[in-house]
Symmetry: C2
Subunit: 382 residues, 2 copies
């Protein structure tokens, strides 16, 4: 197969650190560079000069085109698929011209800054009849794939209940980096609720399906945050009020009939692992634990199962499959993204499309509305 020709919108002239344009470097550039399935042929930044700087910085081939507008990279006949890796508030504006040009499209999660915008992108994608990807890459994690395989293969019979406890590994709960203040702002659409919790929610929906009834308690236990500068660690603002919740407790009955509970809390779990997903069924129970970062791979993961068919034994399930060298070699934090790209190229499981993305947006909206004031009002205003 000829490589898929990629245009990236938002590739910083920077190393794989944190900051504007850096995620595209750490995740996408790191995935494409060793892969035989992809070839970067164009870069689009806020200006042609910025794109040229990035092409030079990353030593991309001189033939790589530099663009300053989404419309221009979308119009490049040599580009098969465009990757949008910019701030979420710009997703809709940047992605729309790509869909109008009928290009395949990858957009980072959150798909858009609001459900309304996300639905509009999904509609445009249906009309363009193009393949889409949304960047909820946790579902490509081989451990998540294995959990899904076990559940759907009937290893524990009919699922009766599921419980997730998740406490992200993100440092002190009252501190945040000053380069990303939107993370504390509910109405930015790119915050702790939509990003950290949304990534988890996508894999939850992927494995167990949607909620029939949903209830939620959202809370800010650390309502006043300290902002710090990533480069030197010093506090740059000692008291910034947050509007995005730092505690997200969701429960309900799934369409399958099982009872579900997903609790997101801070601070990082002091006792035990920081992610634990229990799935109980009529014939057994699965426990999937993870220590470290959730969606970006390379964390310690463990799956244990006990069933009525082998009642005396708790079995640790092997989840690591064979990975192509060009995927396995992608370092943290890019590995799950590399798995998404590998699955996309080979037509395998683990790729979320815009319909999946809209489903997560819709559930986040339901959760916020159900949680009541002030979150229901925020959603109304978005």
């Amino acid at each position: 197969m000829a490589p898929i020709k990629i245009g990236i919108i938002g590739l910083g002239a920077t190393g794989p650190t944190l900051g504007p344009g850096a995620w595209a470097v750490a995740a996408h550039l790191a995935s494409f560079t060793p892969s035989p399935n992809y070839e970067i042929v164009a870069v689009c930044n806020s200006s042609v000069e910025s794109a040229q700087r990035s092409i030079a910085f990353h030593k991309l081939p001189p033939s790589t085109k530099a663009y300053g507008k989404p419309e221009d990279i979308a119009a490049d006949p040599n580009v098969d698929l465009v990757v949008v890796s910019v701030i979420v508030t710009s997703h809709h504006k940047v992605a729309k011209p790509v869909l109008l040009a009928k290009k395949q499209l990858f957009v980072e999660w959150p798909l858009a800054a609001s459900l309304r915008e996300a639905e509009d992108l999904a509609r445009l994608a249906r009309e363009a009849n193009v393949r889409t990807i949304v960047g909820t890459q946790f579902r490509a994690d081989p451990a998540v794939q294995k959990v899904k395989e076990l559940v759907q293969g009937g290893a524990i019979g009919k699922v009766t209940s599921t419980q997730i406890q998740y406490s992200p590994a993100m440092g002190p709960p009252d501190m945040w980096m000053d380069a990303a203040p939107y993370y504390l702002d509910f109405k930015s659409g790119g915050n702790e609720f939509t990003i950290a919790f949304g990534h988890l929610l996508d894999s939850f929906l992927y494995v167990l399906g949607d909620f029939e009834t949903v209830k939620a308690s959202l809370s800010k236990q650390y309502p006043i945050m300290k902002l710090f500068d990533m480069s030197h660690g010093q506090i740059t603002n000692p008291a910034v009020p947050r509007t995005a919740p730092d505690h997200i407790f969701v429960q309900g009955v799934l369409q399958s009939g099982a009872v579900a509970s997903i609790n997101y809390h801070r601070p990082g779990a002091l006792l035990g692992k920081n992610f634990r997903w229990l799935i109980s069924g009529s014939d057994g129970e699965i426990e999937f634990t993870l220590e470290g970062y959730l969606q970006i791979g390379n964390s310690e993961r463990e799956i244990r199962i006990k069933t009525v068919h082998e009642p005396s034994e708790v079995r640790v399930v092997e989840w690591k499959g064979e990975m192509p060298k060009h995927v396995e070699s992608v370092p943290f934090p890019g590995q799950n993204t590399a798995l998404v790209w590998e699955a996309f190229a080979s037509g395998r499981e683990g790729v979320a499309d815009f319909e999946d993305g809209v489903r997560v947006h819709r559930l986040l909206d339901r959760i916020a509305r159900e949680a009541g004031s002030p979150y229901a009002e925020y959603v109304e205003e978005m």
Copy 2:
């Protein structure tokens, strides 16, 4: 101090097994017999003859009075305190004459078959101005006492969230003993929701206080139950529909401001311990786990703590205190009841009174109403 003179209503002529009148034998008789603080002076059963049989069976002193009516044992001037240990549907009817006679009163949990009846008993107790006890003995468990002491002593700072996962050790989730069909019946007032979950709820309220907002998802994952005979284990009815839920997921924000989640699920946890209570705070985290039965003591219990003051260390907390010989010697399942009686006699912590009982009833009612149909309707009809 002279021993408190006890009259027991509902003492079976039976060993400490399961069945009518057996709990009073296993818990109360076992607690009173070795204690210097109590003396059984009267027994009341469904008839004077039945009470006489029980007195003889248990080799109580010949001076022990036998009664066939609650009014009669309540009128005995030699009785200081009456213990009511009969089926919950009779609690109100049996307890009321005792309060009218202004005797101290112990009533097993649930305090009554409905919130209305429980409130009426609490009102009568206030009017009689007598000391009362309700049999939610888990709060007397030294491990619960220790958790409360840690939390209220500020060991983890301000409590930000709490999460309980509880899966009772009660055998297959689709089987129940035919001697206690009320356990499957929501409107009996003495079922899995009020008993198994209610016992837990009392200790939750005791340690962390009440809910400001509460949400709940109740479900029957095993709606058709098999009834079996305890004496030979054979199934006596293969298909009895249940109305009481077997899954109780509750969440909300506490009056303290902390976020809370309490999940009760079946079957017994296959992986890990069957009770885990996490309490997270601004300065640390407490994990209280238990393996086995919850409220009746003698289970494996462990408390672990990690705080910002000793950040590198997870510390296992010693919770076993000194116990008087006459308490320590009480075998399973009576030990926590013995601790209640010891605390009552010495005026120490760990005794729930009727006001506490009403608080649990009220929260159970709120939960059922919030969970919606059919539970809200059941409560309305009770």
